[in-house]
């Protein structure tokens, strides 16, 4: 007898429960870092957290929403500029970061009306143009320093060591929140709809999913996340420079991290960010050769290795750090109580 209700369907396996404990321990370890290591280490780790955030957001957008954007730097820039402007108005920069997320999401809404008119591959270039428009408009505003950029006020009174540790904890906290937020989003109804759209958009629409609405939600969430990342960058660097903050390199980093790590897996951006961060630490002095190496790796991964590191690992072992799907936990020989819920968390 193999009627559907003779199966017990679960989301998490024992291994993922254990790995949650391990992840918790890693998080605690990361929180302790500023007490243990030099300030130079923690300040470079801030960049790692930023990379985790933006790559997770890009993964949500491209890996689950099917929206390949090369214009997410627009929201990094908007988030950063919001912090600068709010600080001028007297808002504490760390609070301003959240306003940055809000501004990014608010501007992403009208942007999505335009960008969503472009299908598939053209969407990618369209978002890039829109990011350029944001940059070109921003440098017209003299009160944020025009093309020169502007310094952040409001954190200068702080002791440098304290400020560095505070930035580190803040970035770590936001990175953890972003990853958990993605996890929660993917397990919600939206996540289910997203997975359906990713697998077959036409069938998903036929099944009653408003695909455009779901994609718009994902686009807004992703913009908000990039806004947070931009805010962290400006809190860390204490100044903003339009060409750097609106640079398409951010998109290149996001894409590289997600492709190497594994697109469509929540774990992918974490692994990819670690790989990218390590390469950056050891190879960045090589300059153009390093960037060429990144490009070649991305090409090879995209063409021959589309599942990335985590995809290959997960397929071999069935191991998932973040259980977002369902799997058969137990198969009974006789039907269990048919009134029992089929799906259980």
């Amino acid at each position: 007898m193999n009627t559907p209700n003779s199966l017990l369907i679960r989301r998490s396996r024992r291994s993922s429960n254990l790995s949650f404990v391990a992840l918790g321990l890693v998080a605690v370890g990361l929180v302790m870092m500023p007490y243990v290591v030099y300030q130079s280490v923690t300040s470079s780790m801030v960049m790692l957290f930023v990379l985790v955030i933006i790559a997770s957001m890009w993964n949500l957008l491209a890996g689950f929403g099917g929206l390949v954007s090369i214009g997410q730097q627009a929201y990094i820039g908007i988030g950063a500029y919001t912090v600068i402007v709010m600080a001028d108005l007297g808002v504490h920069p760390l609070i301003g970061v959240f306003f940055g997320a809000l501004t990014s999401a608010m501007l992403a809404l009208p942007t999505s009306w335009l960008a969503f008119r472009l299908r598939g591959d053209y969407f990618a270039v369209g978002t890039w143009v829109i990011a350029e428009v944001y940059r070109l408009v921003m440098i017209k505003f003299q009160f944020v320093g025009g093309a020169d950029g502007k310094s952040l006020v409001g954190l200068s009174g702080l002791d440098p060591v304290m400020r560095s540790a505070l930035t580190y904890w803040f970035a770590l906290g936001i990175a953890i929140l972003t990853v958990l937020g993605c996890f929660w989003l993917l397990r919600s109804r939206i996540g289910l709809a997203l997975t359906a759209i990713r697998d077959d958009e036409v069938s998903a629409r036929a099944g009653g999913i408003d695909a455009t609405r779901i994609k718009r939600i994902v686009y807004l969430v992703s913009a908000a996340g990039c806004g947070l990342a931009g805010g962290i960058l400006v809190v860390d660097a204490l100044r903003v420079q339009p060409d750097a903050i609106f640079s398409v390199s951010w998109s290149a980093y996001m894409i590289f991290i997600v492709i190497i790590g594994g697109i469509g897996y929540l774990e992918g951006p974490l692994i990819g960010a670690l790989v990218f961060f390590a390469m950056q630490q050891f190879l960045a002095e090589m300059g153009t050769w390093y960037l060429m190496l990144l490009g070649v790796l991305a090409i090879c991964a995209a063409a021959w290795f589309p599942k990335g590191l985590w995809g290959a690992f997960s397929q071999k072992t069935g191991f998932r750090l973040f259980p977002v799907g369902y799997h058969v936990a137990q198969r009974f020989d006789t039907p269990v109580d048919s009134r029992a819920p089929l799906f259980r968390n």
């Binding site: 008119r117 053209y122 990618a124 350029e132 408009v137 050769w289 990144l294 090409i299 995209a302 063409a303």
Partner: protein
């Protein structure tokens, strides 16, 4: 009168934009590939030509005669290997592969030629002009516009009048069905990419002859080409010409009043078309 001059310059600049956009239009029309390294291949062609002119004593026409067919061949080869592989790997793959290529080409050019802008020396042609009433029309601008129109006519003739062209249209409509009737879609894809790469090499050479180019100039070229395609209407080559000319005219006219807003004005034209006429100025039909 200066306005008239700006208008004429804008139309000629639009010819160059069209030349960049034709290749993008073809590759998307036939294979649904957006080649994000499109502009970078143009710059690569320009720098190879600059290198050839500098290192050998070849005349410019010979360098052009070498570079353009070489790029068509590179295009065919890339399509048969890397692009085909990425087409098989899934819908996102071609975007990511071409984006990676863009990074590789830009940094390879920076490594080989440094960040300094360079120029393809074409002698008198670069600066000579002829008067039409009160305005001076540069020969090289006219050459660009004529080449753009010539490219479109040639491609249209190829698509409509030749057996391979008909096959290309069939493959573009439905590759699987076309394959059933005996079309070798991979070879057709290769030819289409070859045409696109040949066209973009011409565009790159012309750009470097008009003004100096730096290794990272490709991204902006891609964006302009893309805007021309969308403004004109996806899938229509004559639309691409209209799009290219509109973009050139708007940029040049705005530059006449405020040089720092010229590029932004072009972007805004693109966004306006996207908002109010998403099918483009010349409504699309299939290739």
């Amino acid at each position: 009168m200066q306005i008239l001059d700006a208008l004429a310059q804008g139309i000629l600049l639009g010819g160059l934009y069209t030349l960049f956009a034709v290749g993008l239009s073809i590759m998307f029309g036939v294979m649904r590939i957006v080649n994000l390294a499109h502009g970078d291949f143009a710059i690569l062609a320009a720098f190879l030509a600059i290198l050839l002119v500098g290192e050998t004593s070849f005349p410019v026409w010979l360098v052009v005669a070498i570079t353009v067919p070489a790029f068509a061949a590179i295009g065919y080869f890339l399509q048969r290997t890397l692009f085909q592989q990425s087409l098989n790997s899934g819908p996102l793959s071609t975007l990511l592969v071409t984006f990676g290529m863009s990074i590789v080409i830009q940094n390879a050019l920076l490594e080989a030629f440094s960040a300094n802008p360079q120029r393809l020396d074409v002698g008198q042609l670069a600066t000579a002009s002829f008067p039409v009433g009160p305005i001076a029309i540069p020969y090289i601008g006219v050459l660009g516009l004529m080449l753009a129109i010539l490219c479109i006519v040639a491609i249209e003739l190829f698509l409509r009048r030749t057996a391979t062209g008909r096959m290309t249209r069939a493959v573009s409509d439905d590759p699987d069905t076309a394959r059933l009737t005996g079309a070798n879609s991979r070879h057709i894809y290769g030819l289409a990419t070859g045409i696109a790469f040949g066209a973009v090499a011409i565009a790159g050479l012309l750009l470097a002859a008009r003004s100096s180019v730096e290794p990272t100039a490709g991204s902006m070229r891609l964006i302009f080409a893309f805007e021309a395609v969308v403004i004109g209407g996806l899938g229509s080559l004559w639309g691409t010409l209209v799009g290219g000319l509109s973009l050139g005219v708007v940029q040049t006219l705005v530059a006449h009043f405020d040089p720092s807003s010229s590029i932004l004005a072009g972007h805004l034209l693109f966004l306006l078309v996207l908002a109010f006429r998403p099918q483009g100025l010349i409504p699309a039909r299939s290739l």
